[in-house]
Symmetry: C5
Subunit: 325 residues, 5 copies
């Protein structure tokens, strides 16, 4: 579906363009066209391929809707760039959903193809249109703005996962629900792996857009792409730290269960003793020997009961002191 | 066994060729011969070695049928390339079987030697014959097509393993069959290791076919080999993620068993108490003291039984409240 | 808030300068201005940006007070450097707090922007003012002095964490409080991760200030920055060693709990036997058979009791010998 | 001990040489001498050092018989090479024994010094003497032949370890002997570490003998050394895979023990209940209350026994259904 | 404290020198002075700094006695080298103590500053004085001799740790003292970490003294420093292997405890059954039913006792067969 198709010259919007008229603008000096598609049909992609002379393999990558989510990357096809970004957003059921944005960037065009993600880039377009002096850099600046937006949207997702992790952490040492903790930790780890796989390849790819030899369309924007890179490093580092925390927490959870088990064992044993010893004693006086003098004593019964109470009292005191009860 | 031997010129099939006539086509400009063998005899390999002037060590690698499966690699022997790919397919008993394809590529020939794998490359040959404008690139394009096919066939195998892993995951938290879960996880890990060892060396080797200095026969096809590389990266990443999931799942399984054990211990202890306390009480009234007034009471027996019921009721209520029952 | 703004020439203090007069000093040859800000307002930052012609992205990094703590880095913007350092200090509640210092360094100015940290750099200023022959190196030397101070302040923080770890270690083998040990280990690990994330990126960044191509403002100070680097390596190595110790300690703690559990089980079982065997024996003589000769013996009762004592004595001796009691 | 000393020219054996006559052959063009020593005396080594002008440090390395096994390496001393290889073979008691072969290679000599290994290289000498066209490459080819032999002899050793591992694997899930399994896994891991330490340094060293700048004596043999390298990569990969399998198996073993423990606990508890409940019931009718009507019933006793049988039957059925028995 | 101060020319000792006369020898061609200090005072260091024109930062590193042990490194200050080595020796209480040796090397001087280590380098001085042809290489050779000595002294320390580890290993499978084993493993791991931190940085630093561009004072000694490097590699590898063994051993220990626990549980349960079943049976005949025909039988009592013996015999046989007893 076509979302938007606008031509820009000298950093300013010139006109909304019909897809079939794109080529007229492509030939004007200092002008570039920015087309945004969402879940495009094969026909739309074919039109775009013809207009912008895109490479087969790149179009195939951007178009295969049935395939698994593509991996973030930045590829050069001659002077043109093909960039794949992975978006991250929460589904209504609070799961992390990874989408993808394929961006074709040439000297005089930017084509973004959005898939499997609800949130679009209208706000990015508005922002760059308010900064004509920066947009004057051309299509490379649009690429920066899109990458910056995608990367900035990782932060709230990561924050949510980290908050979840902190909640589990508290529960961990309270020891209420070890079964729940471990299940939660498992799913947090999966979420972090998902985020890692979205951001790590992008980190690697972004490093090619500043510093040494950079693609022609990104020239002069090194400090901007380095800024994106810096954000990605931070995200990756936070993800790694969180993953390590999860690993430790799983170990800790196991140890806490073991410690609890050990405490329960001791408590049970103590209560067991409080019942078993009286049972043994009363058994003695249940014997049928002809000659058992105590049985004849008037105070035999209360004395035995008192003895039992005394022994149990003593045991209780010792167990309590040893921390078993 | 010879599967096929065809000469191509300018991207189009020229003729089916007898092995002994191969040399006549090798001398024609712009022509290359594509030979496909399956589990060849030593004699067939010797013929091929003579026709194409293959290096001893490469032929030895492709021919040693008694040896363990070869490792994926790309080696240059002068202008010629020797490529080993590992195929992955399921056996009828649902185990992953790794096969190998040795591919000799020269300026004017491609020789593929398939071993330990059922599935051939007839569909690859059909596909490239339908794309003459690409096949015009020569023997290097056939190499690409074969690598692409081998790599694409990893995806369904990996999908099956991942589906298996998800099934285990569900069972894990249901806690039905920890013994089965752990055995399944162990075998999934072995399968992932098998896949990893098939794909990781290929990833490394493929990187040499685009970018910097590339072998002569692959020149001009950089974007195609980069596409294969990209697929391999994705596969490797998925394998790594799955392996990590397995590791975590083994830990989680251990913790779940421990938690279950702990729960069972508590449940048992609670039921134990419900039996032990009455046993102690009835023991008291089994004592043979001459003076035990309760024994004379008309309602002694029902009162004791009521007391026992009361105590057990109370214990039951407390255990239930503490979540032990 | 402005802390200090001083102009230096030839290694000596020239004058305290008002922010609005900074530009007059910037034009004097061999002179540089060192401005220190603490939690500056947007207005203060804007003034500074104008005076020193700072890059938008760097100012944004130094100014975003609502964001998470920035990551240590060293970035070049043309001839100017933008350095971010992370400070580490203990809060009154003994938690590690990571702050940040953004340092803008140009040929004739140093601007330090301190955030989220109590401790300032007055002592650093005093020290460099006492070493005019070194301060003569210009703004680069001030950068060194600030980095050196930040890095040296890591040592006491790390020492405190290591002392904590040693205390846990002792407790570990005493086995008093496994629950407390594991919780303590978990938090020490978190602290070490926090420190690692403050120091590791700085290590990487510092390596760019000596050796090969170094930024212009740091020229001739290679040995000083290498010294900072050396300290950072040592800190990182200590952190890594401590983290590994924590990991091992968590495993050891788990094993100790298990061993304790095992010992308790044996002890309990031994005591259980000392009670269960007499219970069985007295049960025998509680049977109501008409013909049980022992019941008629005058010494039946004491003999049985002696038998029980004998058996329990024997059991006790065997259990003690086996190390169960 | 001198094993053999032969001069070769143009790929063919010229003569068996006495050690003291070696120098006469060294001066003949196109001739090289191949000397094989086994556990040489200091005197023999000194003679060789003089004849071939070997470097002190290399001779020291090859001669220190009291030291720990040397590490595989390839060192250049001027034009000469000093290569250390580690051999692996089984002792009669089925332990892996690591030996070493020091090989000095110069333009016109090869000296191999074998230590701590039974098996010699007579078969290697025979093989190369049957291939004069290859032996014509000179001393470098002898080096290749020796390395190839040493590396090929790793395969059966590794196969044996892998077979051992598979045997343990089966036992693991049968669960017969967890104590034996874990001990076996521990020793397999040690064996794999031993093999790793023999092969990994050699892998690294071999990489220097082909590709970029290679030592003079190995020139023109790149494809042969690459083949050795390829075998080493495969061995290393197999070792790594096996080590990972061992790690997983240790975890799995732990989990299986835990699962078994859990199952045993349940089984015990079930049987315990089958005994405890009747004990409680019979205790009730052992009470001495004057008024217990059931005691007077003619069928009291059989009814109680029937009740007990009924309850136990019911419990047994429920336990069986729950999978506890 | 000054240990020794000697001037050497052409590889031979010229004279014992007073510290204040050092400068006269420094000016003589082909002469160098080797000074050895042990725990020097600030004054001694200041004298040395003046004589040899040492860099402030290096002297500070070598002099800060209150600081933690310095990290091994090799730094260039102009033409001079500053080397820090870590020594390892056992204290009388058998703990590993890490000391440090700072070595300043210039064209015509070597200054070694030893700290926190008992053992000096008199034997090194004697050795090099016996090899004038090697000492002729000048101050670089002295550096080699010192490094070689420090590195060679690691071997017996490492051997002791490995012997300790083997002793633990035996105990591990005997299963006598799991608590002691784990504590011992923990401390061995700490010792290995200590050794690792002494040797790993040195390994890295030593690599700079041969191969590519080497410091001027070490020129022509590449093979010697490579030999030191080779020893360091071996030490590092042994440490890594030992550390891995410790990790595995900790896991194994945990598993062995678990297995023991499981065995004890079964044994206990078996003995429990041997007591519980008779207790239940005798309880039956303790019931007070009016009509219990067996109670009247003359042989009732011996028959019941025989029944109990029979059942216990049967149980014992079954438990023994199942391996529980």
């Amino acid at each position: 579906m076509l979302i938007n198709c606008v031509a820009y010259r000298e950093g300013r919007k010139v006109a909304h363009v019909e897809l079939r008229d794109v080529h007229t603008y492509l030939q004007q000096a200092g002008t570039f066209v920015w087309v945004a598609l969402h879940e495009p049909t094969q026909a739309e992609l074919a039109t775009m391929q013809e207009e912008f002379d895109l490479h087969d393999l790149a179009v195939e990558d951007a178009g295969h809707s049935h395939e698994a989510v593509a991996r973030a990357k930045i590829e050069e096809y001659g002077d043109a760039l093909f960039v794949v970004l992975n978006t991250a957003e929460f589904t209504p059921t609070d799961e992390i959903k990874i989408g993808e944005v394929g961006i074709f960037v040439g000297k005089n065009y930017v084509l973004s193809v959005r898939r499997r993600t609800e949130r679009g880039f209208r706000d990015v377009r508005s922002r760059v249109e308010r900064e004509p002096e920066l947009l004057r850099h051309g299509s490379g600046y649009v690429l920066y703005a899109l990458m910056d937006a995608v990367v900035d949207r990782y932060f709230p997702v990561l924050d949510a996962v980290e908050a979840e992790l902190e909640a589990i952490e508290e529960q961990l040492f309270a020891g209420d629900d070890p079964r729940g903790s471990i299940e939660a930790l498992y799913y947090v780890k999966q979420e972090l792996t998902t985020l890692k796989h979205a951001t790590a390849p992008l980190l690697e790819a972004t490093a090619k857009l500043f510093g040494g030899r950079v693609p022609h369309t990104c020239a002069g924007l090194g400090e901007y792409f380095r800024d994106v890179y810096d954000h990605l490093i931070r995200i990756n580092q936070s993800i790694d730290a969180a993953r390590e925390t999860v690993s430790t927490a799983i170990q800790v959870n196991l140890a806490m269960v073991q410690v609890s088990e050990s405490e329960v064992t001791k408590r049970l044993a103590a209560y067991g003793a409080l019942v078993a010893v009286p049972t043994m004693i009363v058994g003695v006086y249940g014997m049928n020997f002809a000659q058992m003098p105590e049985l004849k004593w008037t105070l035999g019964y209360p004395l035995v009961m008192a003895l039992i109470a005394l022994i149990d009292g003593l045991l209780f005191y010792r167990f309590r002191k040893a921390g078993w009860l």
